[in-house]
């Protein structure tokens, strides 16, 4: 960078300068497969544990509750079952709050500790980790894998590759099946699958998930994070100088240099970094953390484990690469967590969304009523001179039993009559039932052209279960 010609080129925006800049900022674009070394350590263990939460994805759908799947996102019948709760499309506004909640959790966590989601929980990270683990078990450590890739085809190479791809496909198939069974009855799906009796849509979903899992986790790997995933970019924006992230302590490490026999570590002329490249070798996305924060870093902490183990060996304190904020590394005063207003805003929105969901879930109700007054005609004059209004009732029964309801009216016109008010209306469970109600009133009692009226439907067996709706009674012009 000190070459005067080069600086001149770059300042002028000249094309040759761009080439040099390109070389400077070269990122891994997938031209060669990264075979990362696996090293034990605190973050490795943490990552394994957090990723194993995904096991629930594979087994959760088999949980049963009251004779049906405990968690079932039944899109075919437009209802979501979550243990005792049944959520119908009418309550789906809570889903938007849930998405907001999840987004805010992501934002808040990212503003505090950078891309925690990417490093420890993202399915791309988790599945890639599983796939490379299989690869290591079958083909051996990274050195052997590099050699095997370069070697000409032989029976042994074919055998190893076949085993690996078979295992990968097995995981992919399981992933495809496990995804689908959250949306329909798991056991029925298996029966249909084993008898090759799936619908076209089910086949398409299954094949799509098999192929994307196999391709993304087996071949694309870190390229997904770098070129496909929007969150990699979004989350980068949420970090600031207060955010802690895996960072290389340049002041301590530089000038780096190979450790030679007889060298005294801690020598003032040489930094702590012995340029052993362990941090690069363990990186699943192939970045060099010593170049600073970069797009490829999913903050998984594996380089921290690697560096710490080396520091232990050469007798230097741990933490040459550590979770630190840019403020800390730059020698600026480190602020407390509560002095981070952006995080507090995220947490506030998060709590609001959470409160909304709690409200929604506790106010689901058993019945929902919608009443549409007839628009044409607004009212009818009957032969005795009274005025009749027609209403279309839609009662949504969210319980799991069929019920009968009766209709009651409040407000409206003095001495109004609900025609056939003694009649019980059947409302079928899990869907909206429609019926018509007529209300009749004497014309001399109608004081206004439009009068408010409140209808209530209530369960004939349990009057405390009901739903109300405000609408209007229309009369002639006054």
């Amino acid at each position: 960078m000190n070459d005067p010609q080069q600086i001149k080129d770059m300042e002028a925006g000249g094309v040759t300068g761009l080439y040099r800049e390109h070389a400077e900022w070269h990122v891994n674009s997938g031209e060669k497969t990264i075979h990362a070394k696996r090293m034990p350590g605190f973050f490795r263990t943490f990552k394994t544990l957090s990723e194993s939460l995904w096991l629930f994805f594979f087994v959760g759908a088999y949980l049963r509750w009251n004779g049906r799947q405990a968690i079932l996102l039944d899109i075919n019948h437009r209802q979501f079952h979550f243990f005792n709760l049944t959520i119908l499309p009418q309550d789906i506004w809570m889903l938007s709050l849930l998405l907001l909640l999840l987004a805010m959790v992501l934002f808040a966590v990212t503003s505090v500790a950078s891309r925690v989601f990417c490093g420890y929980f993202c399915f791309q990270t988790a599945w890639t980790d599983l796939f490379t683990w299989i690869e290591e078990k079958v083909e051996g450590p990274p050195g052997k894998r590099h050699k095997l890739d370069a070697a000409p085809w032989s029976a042994e190479k074919l055998r190893l590759k076949a085993i690996k791809h078979f295992l990968w496909l097995l995981v992919s198939v399981l992933t495809g099946i496990s995804f689908t069974i959250w949306f329909e009855d798991a056991f029925q799906y298996w029966r249909d699958l084993l008898s090759f009796n799936l619908t076209l849509l089910e086949w398409v979903v299954l094949v799509f998930f098999i192929l994307t899992t196999y391709y993304f986790a087996g071949f694309m790997r870190e390229q997904v994070c770098m070129w496909l995933c929007p969150y990699a970019r979004i989350q980068g924006v949420m970090c600031d100088s207060q955010t802690i992230l895996p960072a290389y302590d340049e002041k301590r490490g530089e000038p780096r240099g190979k450790l030679r026999k007889g060298d005294v570590t801690g020598d003032a002329r040489q930094g702590d970094c012995i340029d052993c490249f362990q941090c690069v070798q363990v990186c699943p996305t192939g970045v060099d953390i010593r170049q600073g924060q970069q797009l490829g870093c999913i903050t998984c902490g594996l380089c921290l484990d690697a560096c710490d183990s080396v520091m232990d060996k050469i007798g230097r304190p741990r933490g040459l690469i550590r979770y630190a904020s840019l403020d800390e590394l730059g020698g600026k005063p480190v602020k407390k967590l509560y002095q981070h207003p952006r995080t507090l805003v995220y947490v506030a929105i998060l709590l609001l969304a959470f409160a909304g969901i709690v409200y929604g879930l506790t106010h689901l109700g058993s019945l929902t009523l919608r009443v549409a007054p007839e628009r044409q005609p607004l009212f009818v004059r009957m032969s005795d001179g009274s005025i009749q209004n027609k209403y279309t009732f839609r009662v949504l029964n969210k319980t799991d039993k069929d019920l009968t309801v009766r209709v009651i009216a409040e407000g409206g016109i003095k001495d109004q009559i609900i025609v056939d008010s003694g009649q019980k209306q059947l409302v079928t469970h899990g869907k909206a039932s429609t019926f018509t109600v007529f209300v009749k009133a004497k014309e001399e009692n109608i004081k206004k052209e439009v009068t408010r009226i409140e209808f209530r439907v209530e369960n004939t067996e349990d009057p405390s279960m009901g739903a109300e709706y405000h609408t209007v009674f229309n009369g002639p012009k006054r």
Partner: protein
């Protein structure tokens, strides 16, 4: 080509240079892109062969295509027929059931009754709404109401489901003579004002002049002959004294009076205009407007 290389990267360029050092690489388009392009080109040919394509200007025709394998030559009409079949398949199970059911039984069946309230709307709009108005609100002409309102509970020929079916199936045509010669202007005035007050029997003329013969001793009409109930608040033509005078003067459907009121309900089974099923559906649909009367004996309230 060896000359056309970029000085820094060594990549081959096209040899054209702009602005001193700006040049084009000679990179191939990506493989996937080329595959996509080729596949699209092949698809265009296949599609072109399968479906109607080239319009021939002079003969006003077009190439018909060799058709989709297994389904023969494609036409828009075939596609529409297939779509219609889909609709018929859905409706079929309801239509099959209500074919052999009495209108009252359809009305009592919750599922069929719901089906009819939806499918009857189209039938009603096509066949009835021109006179009776959308949703049966009635239509008016300059002399008053042209066709009866179907939402109320006043029926010239009765409001049970069977009577409504009968009215649609066989049509209705009442008759009231014009009284311009048999009654004096004063007599017409007196009768009209009594009727307008909703109390036709208040004038002795009602009995003396023979109104009772059709409208009954109490003026409430007779459904058997379709004479109007004069004692209620619903008017067949007009409730104003002028309108009533007009009706008395010129009558209804009186061929001898050019200005007579016309009131004809056509026969909807004639010439196969509507099938029995359609008429049943319409009867149920009209009944559910809100004015339908329980048949005798009234079904027990449940």
């Amino acid at each position: 080509m060896s000359d056309n290389r970029n000085a820094d990267s060594g990549e081959t360029t096209t040899g054209h240079v702009w602005d001193d050092d700006l040049a084009d690489y000679t990179n191939q388009p990506p493989r996937w892109w080329m595959i996509g392009l080729t596949a699209s080109a092949i698809w265009v040919v296949v599609y072109f062969l399968m479906y109607p394509a080239i319009p021939i200007a002079t003969s006003g025709t077009f190439t018909k295509g060799i058709g989709v394998p297994g389904t023969g030559q494609w036409t828009a009409v075939k596609e529409m027929e297939a779509d219609m079949k889909d609709v018929d398949d859905v409706r079929g199970k309801f239509e099959k059931r209500l074919k052999d059911m009495a209108p009252a039984a359809i009305l009592a069946d919750k599922e069929l009754s719901e089906y009819v309230s939806r499918s009857g709307k189209v039938l009603f709009s096509d066949n009835c709404a021109a006179c009776h108005g959308q949703n049966g609100i009635g239509t008016t002409d300059k002399q008053g109401l042209f066709a009866p309102i179907l939402n109320d509970d006043d029926w010239l020929y009765g409001g049970t489901i069977e009577q409504i079916f009968e009215s649609i199936a066989n049509g209705r045509q009442g008759m009231m003579m014009a009284h311009k010669t048999s009654l004096s202007a004063q007599e017409i005035d007196a009768l009209a004002s009594a009727v307008a007050q909703g109390n036709p029997t208040s004038t002795p003329l009602f009995t003396e002049k023979g109104c009772v013969a059709c409208h009954g001793a109490n003026g409430k009409g007779m459904q058997a002959m379709g004479s109007a109930n004069l004692a209620d608040k619903v008017w067949r033509f007009s409730g104003t004294p002028e309108g009533i005078k007009y009706t008395i003067t010129h009558g209804v459907n009186d061929a001898g009076d050019k200005e007579t009121r016309n009131a004809v309900m056509p026969n909807f089974s004639a010439a196969g205009k509507l099938s029995q099923s359609d008429i049943k559906k319409l009867a149920v649909y009209v009944f559910k407007f809100g004015g339908g009367k329980a048949s005798d004996p009234a079904p027990a309230a449940n």
